[in-house]
């Protein structure tokens, strides 16, 4: 195959000026490194989330979220209590939260959405399932950046005009390639160039302003002073009573590691959850049964049919294996196991054919498992029975779709296989359950 040197050369030649322009724009606009100011404990006017952005090259890091919560505690809007060594709860204080920034309000809203009776264990302070959590985090970050921009501390690294110009400039080499190697090649080149431009520019989304650089320098001085105290790293979140807002800033700077670890505020776990349904907060484990127990969440009639077929096949196999010697013992043992399991499943299915019960509880997790060809839909419901492990019900997609996490629902399920015949929002919930369901509803962006 002949190498199209001419095409490659011409495209490279056309690309070089564009790449140079992109590089120049990046180098000129990337944030400058601020010089740390003199070590001090005097805090500036910016909240911890903004301080976090300023000391991390004008990028918001995840520590900004727990730092904001600790700051709210320092400002007496939230109280952090220790229930037992290493276990903390947040209590919403009955104070006006007027004057909060949008991202502080977002954290307060999260707290309210998770609280039951005004209390939420630190472990339950998650920002939702991975996808939802990611959306929550992006919105939080956007709000912090917007506030920093409003304070004149940073600017978008790439304004719309420059982005349009660079995108337009990429058309040059794309047209050259298109003329020499076909339209498709030219179009692909242009798309790749724009994506590359986006990737380079999202590495740093913000650049400094003189005011931002001065503030960053001051905050680096605070960080240096706080970093001097080795004990700061081991402070628990309740130490906010002693350190006050300094602990929040320490968390924002990545120094108060123990405090941040105690209230991570990240995506929720699929397998561990906190539930307050039934009145008391407690940690529960969640399982999503698939093959064990057999027939879980499947219509009893189908389970019965499958079990009878399996039983028949296994019994036939055993009949054939009557004359097998000791060499076939493993095969026989397997068939006996099949008979036992199928027999049990058949028995469960038979009982389930004539019995259902209504279970009311709170949805702790809504999850799907498996690939597109075999997607399984699970609803983990805590009925307030106090069980430490909850086996999620497997439901049909049409039942799954309208459900919302943390909603209180009533499911009509069979006794053994937990086949869900129907599931809908609970009608006869007590007032407290309604309240809990309302406040516990997951934030939706």
């Amino acid at each position: 195959m002949e190498v199209p040197w001419l095409t490659i050369g011409a495209t490279a030649a056309a690309t070089a000026p564009w790449l140079l322009a992109v590089t120049l724009v990046y180098l000129r606009r990337r944030p400058n490194k601020p010089e740390p100011g003199p070590p001090t404990l005097d805090l500036g006017p910016e909240p911890p989330a903004i301080a976090n952005l300023l000391v991390h090259d004008f990028r918001v890091t995840h520590d900004a979220v727990p730092a904001t919560l600790i700051d709210l505690a320092a400002r007496r809007l939230v109280e952090i209590e220790e229930r037992e060594p290493g276990s903390y709860v947040c209590r919403l204080e009955k104070r006006s939260d007027g004057g909060l920034t949008s991202y502080e309000s977002r954290v307060m809203e999260l707290l309210r959405s998770r609280a039951s009776g005004g209390i939420v264990p630190a472990g339950a302070l998650t920002t939702g399932p991975t996808k939802e959590s990611s959306r929550w985090w992006k919105d939080f970050r956007k709000e912090v950046v917007a506030d920093a921009q409003q304070r004149g501390l940073c600017l978008d690294i790439l304004d719309g005009k420059t982005f349009r110009r660079l995108t337009f400039a990429a058309l040059g080499p794309a047209v050259v390639l298109g003329l020499m190697a076909g339209e498709t090649a030219g179009l692909v080149y242009w798309v790749v160039a724009v994506l590359l431009l986006g990737a380079i520019m999202t590495w740093h989304t913000q650049r400094d302003t003189p005011a931002g650089l001065a503030a960053a320098s001051r905050w680096l001085g605070v960080r240096a002073k706080l970093a001097d105290d080795e004990a700061f790293r081991t402070q628990a979140p309740i130490a906010v009573t002693l350190w006050e807002r300094h602990l929040a800033y320490g968390a924002a700077f990545g120094l108060a590691t123990a405090a941040v670890r105690a209230i991570p505020m990240g995506a929720e776990s699929d397998h561990r959850a906190w539930s307050s349904y039934g009145g008391q907060w407690r940690a529960v484990r969640i399982r999503y049964p698939h093959l064990v127990p057999p027939g879980w969440g499947i219509h009893p009639l189908i389970v019965l049919l499958r079990a009878v077929l399996a039983l028949a096949a296994a019994l036939f196999g055993l009949w054939l294996a009557q004359d097998v010697g000791s060499a076939g013992m493993l095969f026989v043992a397997t068939l006996i196991a099949v008979v036992a399991v199928a027999g049990l499943a058949a028995l469960w299915a038979l009982v389930d054919l004539g019995s259902t019960r209504d279970v009311t509880g709170q949805i702790l997790r809504l999850r799907t498992h498996g690939d597109d060809d075999d997607k399984r839909y699970y609803v983990a419901v805590d009925d307030g029975g106090g069980s430490e492990t909850i086996r999620a019900w497997r439901v049909k997609p049409e039942l799954y779709t309208p459900l919302r996490q943390y909603e209180v629902v009533t499911g009509t399920i069979t006794r053994n296989l937990r086949y869900v015949r129907s599931i809908h929002p609970a009608v006869s919930q007590t007032e407290s359950e309604v309240g809990a369901a309302q406040v516990a509803a997951a934030p939706r962006g």
């Binding site: 204080e93 009955k94 006006s96 081991t234 628990a236 309740i238 009573t241 002693l242 406040v439």
Partner: protein
């Protein structure tokens, strides 16, 4: 030769394990000592507030000499306490004496209305909150240290090198010197 190498390797590994465990114990001991320092800072703050408080009340109830003397004596004992146990006992006595002082103040509405008294009371209440948290942090640190000192394998190192047990700071949490209802009134509850 082989056995010598094996013995040397085992000795090196044991030495490394000893160093790691020893350092862990030292870190935990330092953490509890640092936590105690935080308690002391808050206790000192409380002790510093008392003379002003006594003087303020004295201006309105000069004849309650016995109460003032008991507060002053209790403060002096608390300041002189040398060990955690002595400190705890002295603080309990001081808390009781301060409780009596506030009981005296209750009888003088004019005193309670003065800005100075209100401010002192508020500061004392805040300090008591801080003492409670500092005490909790100290006791947690001592618990972590004691657990390490008493459980294998760190207990083996703690036995070889003297890692003394540390006392918990036990004070009577039920009795607070400052009556809380006075200044804990909060703004009207918000929705949610």
């Amino acid at each position: 030769m082989t056995w010598l190498i094996v013995v040397l390797v085992v000795l090196v590994l044991l030495g490394l394990a000893f160093i790691l465990l020893y350092n862990r114990l030292v870190r935990l001991r330092n953490r509890s000592e640092n936590a105690w320092a935080q308690v002391e800072v808050q206790l000192k703050r409380r002790h510093d507030l008392i003379p002003n408080l006594v003087e303020t009340v004295k201006a309105y109830a000069a004849h309650e000499r016995g109460t003032f003397d008991s507060v002053t004596e209790a403060r002096t004992s608390a300041q002189r306490a040398a060990t955690v146990e002595q400190q705890a006992a002295a603080e309990n006595v001081l808390t009781a004496a301060l409780g009596r002082l506030f009981a005296v103040a209750e009888a003088y509405p004019q005193l309670r209305a003065t800005e100075n008294f209100q401010q002192l009371q508020s500061e004392l209440e805040e300090t008591e909150d801080k003492i409670a948290v500092a005490r909790q942090l100290y006791n947690d640190a001592v618990l972590a240290y004691d657990n390490a000192r008493e459980t294998v394998p760190t207990s083996l190192v703690a036995g070889m090198v003297r890692f003394e047990p540390k006392p918990y700071f036990e004070i009577d949490e039920r009795s607070r010197a400052v009556p809380q209802a006075e200044f804990s009134a909060l703004p009207a509850p918000q929705d949610g």
